[in-house]
């Protein structure tokens, strides 16, 4: 695969040019576009906060620790405990499955597969990244859930003692957080693979050839010269995937059996996630119910923001001493 080979770039140096009207107009336009983007973002943030605050102030439960979501009751009681837990747990499961496998596929494409086959696979995985999530939902509900029942029973039979893999009722369908995690993993696999592959392709060939010349095996080349270089890129790829997993709506809503129960048994058909709850409760919500849902959307928004911020920090720190363009 020859992707666009990147000549290492320094940010363009400021060129001393005479200021002309065209220049001023153009720089004004582009600055304006940036400012417009800021304004839109600020408007969204303000809008979310205003409606969320008005909802939370009327909440008679504790917004952070209440399990139920019943803003239609009088007095209204709703909280995000189950949703936050479900969102985090299903995303963690998705990451645990998707990150190693994606890295494996990326390495397979770049270092193991015959060159032509690798190209084809890379292409196909690129395309899969664009499959709409509603299609994953459809497939998950009608195909994946019935087929995961065996895995569920097997985990329950042999790993029940771990508590995590205990299934309270072996007959219940596999509509659990674990299934959601697996479906999310399948959804974000192509994204993480794509970006990781791009990053691995950027690893200087010189490093790898040097390692090979010293008699390293293929695995040693990967471990010693590819992975250290690609680490920050893989982390940012994973964060991209995590962002999508956290906010996924339709695929979760069709697969999960949601209920306001917080359980450590990830095989049990209980739990919920932010986006799933929004989509399930939105239809019958009145204006106040919508405000309450927006409040939960705000929390999801903040979580995504933190994740993105963390990824930026990690990458920025890595960049400083990785000697990337050496």
């Amino acid at each position: 695969m020859t992707t666009v080979e990147t000549p290492p770039t320094a940010p363009p140096r400021k060129a001393a040019t005479v200021t002309r009207p065209g220049d001023r107009i153009f720089s004004g336009l582009s600055r304006g576009a940036g400012i417009l983007l800021l304004v839109v973002m600020a408007a969204i943030a303000v809008f979310l906060t205003v409606r969320a605050v008005s909802a939370i102030s009327k909440d008679h439960g504790n917004f952070l620790t209440t399990f139920e979501w019943t803003p239609s009751l009088n007095p209204p009681v709703f909280g995000i405990a189950v949703l936050a837990y479900g969102t985090v747990v299903s995303s963690i499961i998705a990451m645990l499955i998707a990150v190693p496998i994606s890295l494996g596929i990326a390495l397979f494409i770049t270092h193991y597969a015959p060159r032509r086959l690798g190209g084809i696979i890379a292409y196909v995985i690129d395309l899969l990244a664009a499959v709409p999530s509603i299609v994953y939902g459809l497939w998950g509900a009608l195909f994946l859930v019935p087929h995961l029942k065996g895995l569920n029973l097997w985990l329950d039979d042999y790993l029940s003692w771990t508590v995590i893999f205990h299934k309270s009722d072996p007959n219940s369908a596999a509509r659990s957080l674990l299934t959601v995690g697996i479906l999310l993993a399948i959804m974000i696999l192509p994204i993480i693979t794509n970006v990781s592959r791009e990053v691995i392709n950027q690893v200087p060939k010189m490093h790898q050839e040097a390692a090979l010349a010293l008699g390293a095996t293929r695995w040693e080349v990967i471990r010693l010269s590819v992975l250290p270089f690609a680490r920050s890129g893989v982390i940012s790829a994973s964060m991209l995937g995590l962002g999508r997993a956290l906010g996924e709506t339709m695929a979760v809503a069709t697969v999960l059996s949601a209920s306001p129960v917080l359980s450590a048994h990830i095989l049990d058909p209980v739990g919920g996630t932010f986006s799933q709850n929004i989509v399930a409760k939105f239809g019958e919500a009145d204006e106040f119910g919508r405000d309450a849902l927006i409040a939960s959307g705000l929390v999801l928004f903040v979580i995504t923001l933190l994740v993105n911020g963390a990824a930026r920090l990690i990458i920025a720190r890595r960049k400083e001493y990785s000697g990337a363009n050496a």
Binding site: T70, A141, D169, S172, A258, A280
Partner: protein, 384 residues
Amino acid sequence: MKLQRKSGLRALTVGAVAITGALVLTACGSDNNDNSSSPSGSSQPSASGSSANAAGISCAQGQILASGSSAQQNAIEAWVRNYQQACNGATINYKTSSSGEGIIDFNQGTDAFAGSDSPLKPEEAAASKKVCSTGTGINIPMVGGPIAIGYNLPGVSNLVLDASTIAKIFNGKITTWNDKAIKALNPSATLPSTKIQTVHRQDDSGTTDNLTKYLGGAAKADWPYPHAKAWAAKGGQAAAKSSGVSALVKQTEGAIGYFELSYATSQSIPTVKIATGASQPVEATTQNASAGIAQAKVVGTGSDLALDLSAAYTTKADNAYPIVLVTYEIACDKGNKASTLPLTKSFLNYIASDAGQQQLSAAGYAPLPTEIATKVRSTISALS
């Protein structure tokens, strides 16, 4: 590296070609799906009509938007089809979403009428005055239907349950199919020891609201929760929408769930007969549901026709199915928009007419009992 402005232009050409292609595409679609099916309305004359046509519909022109309950989806679809086929130039766009969304759409002025499984709450009725400049939003009962309790238990047909057993099952007090209480109601059936898997709605729903109203009304002792659109009991599995519930019941052995009768029919899921105290356990059929709804009393004031169904829940009349749901059409009594009033009135007139109501049984719904239907028709004629 050389600058490739030429190919840049070519990229633009590709884009232009794509857009042109899309524009050409817009010219070749068709709204016409009437292959051979002719309007199936009977030819009885409707209550009022200046230009009554073959289908007995007095037509109006224009375009209206409506939205709301999915419980009446199949009925509305059939009515809309008949109406549009009989009346050229009329477009009725009913968006199947949910009662709550329908009411919000109505109160925001998007809808000419909304469909809802429960009557307007006082604050919603108050909010509707903004849209109905001189009047207020009223509830017009239109589509009745049984809520079927479907189950998946191979080898067991004609299962009979009563309100308290159903309440105990859905509340997790009865957990196996060979429980004493179930055996007592089904002496001749061979019940397996399978665990009961209850399935309920994960989204808020008018169907849940009506079922829990029934459980609270007919089995107060065994159903401690207030009626609500959100499922309150612990345990069981949840699925999205009636389609999800029925699909899960169909997939899972030992499962029991609730949904509108049409889902049970279309997926051939057996339904529970209810022991109401009548001489025979009552099956969930459209006719029996009509008999159940006939017990209801109108509690709305003025032109509002909101129904109180609590008499239906505890009825002991023969062949009266107690778990019923009534979907209302919500419109302004006065102050409907001039642009949408004629079509709204004409369409509601049609669906409340005998010809319209007769369509219902075929789609798995219960026609309104005569007494209520009469009131409905006079209310609709007075809409302005």
